[in-house]
Symmetry: C2
């Protein structure tokens, strides 16, 4: 079957995108969030969606529903964007969608208005072609993603029944320069903590280091005990809940291209962990602990012979299924106590994320991958998990369906930075993909 | 023999001290250093000293000589002072010697103009009483002590022949509230270094912590490996050159009062090292490593999921005889290499100090202690070494004589801080001590 010509829908989608980019819906600065919500609602209602608006902590949450059919697809996107600062580094105005050399520039062009609009344009094309939407589409669109989605998990839990679906199409994902779509079937979980140690009310002269303990040594020894030189976490019990990867996970990882050359070259990395052959296994499947910051005592030029009164360390733990963030904090406490560091305080920072990973053998995942191959004309790159973290787990837990992330970002897309952009090629394929995926799901 | 009445000399000394305090000879700010040198030279010449002035890196160095006799005493003092900032916290003008409730307030009243002047007043009294100075006194007075004595060691080495003496009376020391003089027969050495680690050209997202090493973990593990929980340094070879304490050292330490209560109470210390019974042994005899600072990555509120590109640690090692600062750096390098941290750079910070400790059985030391007992009317507290560091070793090495430090400071003397002061009682006893010590040394 020849794919339908979607040119008109692509052009219409680009006009929609220009309209949305023109609304500076910066959630961190509470700018124009209801305006953007209203614009999205109008676009959705024009395609037959019933849209309900719910209050979030920062911005309205939209829950839209349309169509009828044997398959229910839940789509997740967001209408808020990062601040445009530093504005002077943009080559064209950040809130004016501008095409140049095959790229479309503008804040939100990629993250996430471009994704949202390309999906809507594909849905519009399918609806026109079939004379109606041949599957049930539920669409959850929030305006707080760029400030950490503070309302999302509770919203999903509270609206679990309304959100029930057979598959979840998540925001996020990219296309390689060669045109290969990069899909993620999972995200790592995360828990961030601060360690604090104090030995005195104020700093002392370091001659007293013979008789007063040193909080920076204590923190250093505590941090050193958390992992080995190869990065393996050494906290007893840490790996107990790690679900062994499936054969499908291992096969997918074996098929992933490269061994991290781009990362090493971009950042001029001088010390890697693991063999190059382990690169994807580690990023997808290995839980890790990161020292994000370590601070205490003197930081100026030369020396200062001070025995600091206190110090602090910031850590994040990147988790894999089925590790529990809360349990990790308990294990960390027990480990520090066992190591003699019961004086070191653990402070939990902000909300955690549970890890999530979908079954790669699930028909929904297989369909999403197959359609990506057909539409992009290149083998998809299917990651069982990203090395990063985000609120994917609440979808899996409460919606009860596998989740797949496939977006239209690109490696030079400058997401969160000046000159954010997408390739026109990727936007066009994004529209085609949305139409083809929904058609495939509807047709079973 | 009834001690002579030194009242007139004490009053004359206090007038001299007021004159010197009035000269704001702040070496860190290059203020009035030649003026202070000239004032000291005038005072010395009035007592028959031949004074030679040598250029230092920051301020003139004075080398004075007077008297004749069987014993040659080398005295060391300095005429420079710390800055008066914050000036608004002084209750009376910092450069106006002011008596109040038995204390004399002013910048340099204790450190070190009060010591210098009290010694001169005692010498003046002895000279008048005997009709001449019955011993040879060499007096080395610098103006760079508060900026780390950058010229001193080389000066002593270059002028070793002129400085030859039978005993060295060093600046520094204090009197307890009960009136017990606190003497030091040694100082610890010191070497300060910075450790640096870098894994990439710029910070990375912490999801990359699965495949890129963490410089803060590496520094933490390196620091953790330097000592044990009890503070014992674990660098192989570190203790090889440690000279066993003499029986006299051990006896002196056994006689020291208290177990660090004042320190613990003043600073509200919650974690000590060693048993209380080990307090003085550790401060006097145990070499230690201090973490003065540890910095890298995020230090703001909440979390930031960053993998920092680099980090740094500042350390000082407090050494005891006969450890060599240079050898310690070599041992540290070898240890880090052996532990797998050959990527961690060691940067030496500023000049080091060798440790120094005099023989407590030397007649000069015994005389200094006995005279202190007689003059103060209380048992002296004789420390084989301070826990602190300073340029004492060049005197022992090049002058070839034992060194003893006995000053007139007090525990509430606020040295280096606003409202620096000495007790009038301690100044008076300082004058008496100088006269009596020189008499005892002259009389053999």
């Amino acid at each position: 079957m020849t794919p339908p010509d979607l040119t008109a829908h692509i052009e219409r989608g680009l006009r929609d995108l220009a309209d949305l980019v023109a609304i500076p819906s910066v959630s961190a600065q509470d700018r124009h969030l209801p305006d953007a919500a209203r614009a999205v609602q109008t676009l959705l209602e024009a395609e037959g969606f019933t849209v309900r608006e719910y209050p979030g902590q920062v911005a309205p949450i939209l829950l839209a529903e349309a169509g009828e059919g044997p398959f229910t697809l839940l789509i997740y996107n967001h209408y808020d964007v990062q601040p445009e600062d530093p504005a002077e580094l943009w080559d064209t105005p950040p809130f004016t969608l501008t095409e140049r050399d095959g790229r479309l520039y503008g804040r939100g062009a990629s993250d996430d208005k471009g994704e949202l609009v390309s999906r809507l344009a594909g849905l519009r094309a399918l609806r026109e072609q079939r004379g109606g939407l041949p599957l049930k589409v539920k669409w959850l669109i929030e305006g707080e993603e760029e400030v950490g989605s503070p309302s999302l998990e509770a919203f999903i839990e509270a609206h679990a029944a309304e959100l029930k679906a057979d598959g979840v199409w998540w925001e996020f994902g990219s296309i390689t320069p060669e045109g290969r779509p990069v899909l993620y079937a999972g995200l790592k979980g995360i828990i961030c903590v601060e360690l604090r140690c104090r030995v005195a009310a104020s700093d002392l002269h370091s001659s007293n280091g013979a008789v007063v303990d040193n909080p920076l040594w204590r923190l250093a020894a505590a941090v050193a005990s958390l992992r080995g030189p190869d990065g393996t976490v050494l906290i007893p019990g840490f790996h107990d809940d790690v679900r062994p990867p499936s054969q499908a996970d291992l096969d997918a990882i074996a098929a992933l291209p490269g061994t991290g050359e781009a990362l090493r070259d971009t950042y001029d990395v001088t010390r890697t962990l693991g063999d190059r052959g382990e690169y994807h296994t580690r990023l997808n499947l290995k839980p890790v602990v990161n020292v994000n910051g370590f601070h205490g005592g003197y930081d100026g030029q030369g020396s200062k012979t001070v025995l600091p009164a206190e110090g602090m360390v910031k850590l994040d733990f990147r988790l894999v299924p089925d590790q529990h963030p809360d349990r990790i904090v308990d294990l960390l406490r027990a480990h520090l106590d066992q190591q003699g560091f019961n004086d070191i305080e653990i402070v939990e920072l902000e909300s955690h994320q549970y890890p999530a990973r979908s079954d790669l053998n699930h028909p929904f995942v297989k369909t999403a991958v197959q359609v990506a191959r057909d539409v992009h004309g290149h083998d998809p790159i299917l990651n069982p998990s990203s090395g990063g973290s985000g609120p994917m787990h609440p979808f899996m837990q409460h919606v009860g369906a596998p989740v797949i992330a496939l977006g239209i970002g690109n490696i030079g897309g400058r997401v969160h930075a000046p000159n954010e952009n997408i390739l026109r090629r990727d936007f066009e394929n994004g529209v085609r993909y949305a139409a083809a995926l929904m058609a495939a799901l509807a047709d079973g």
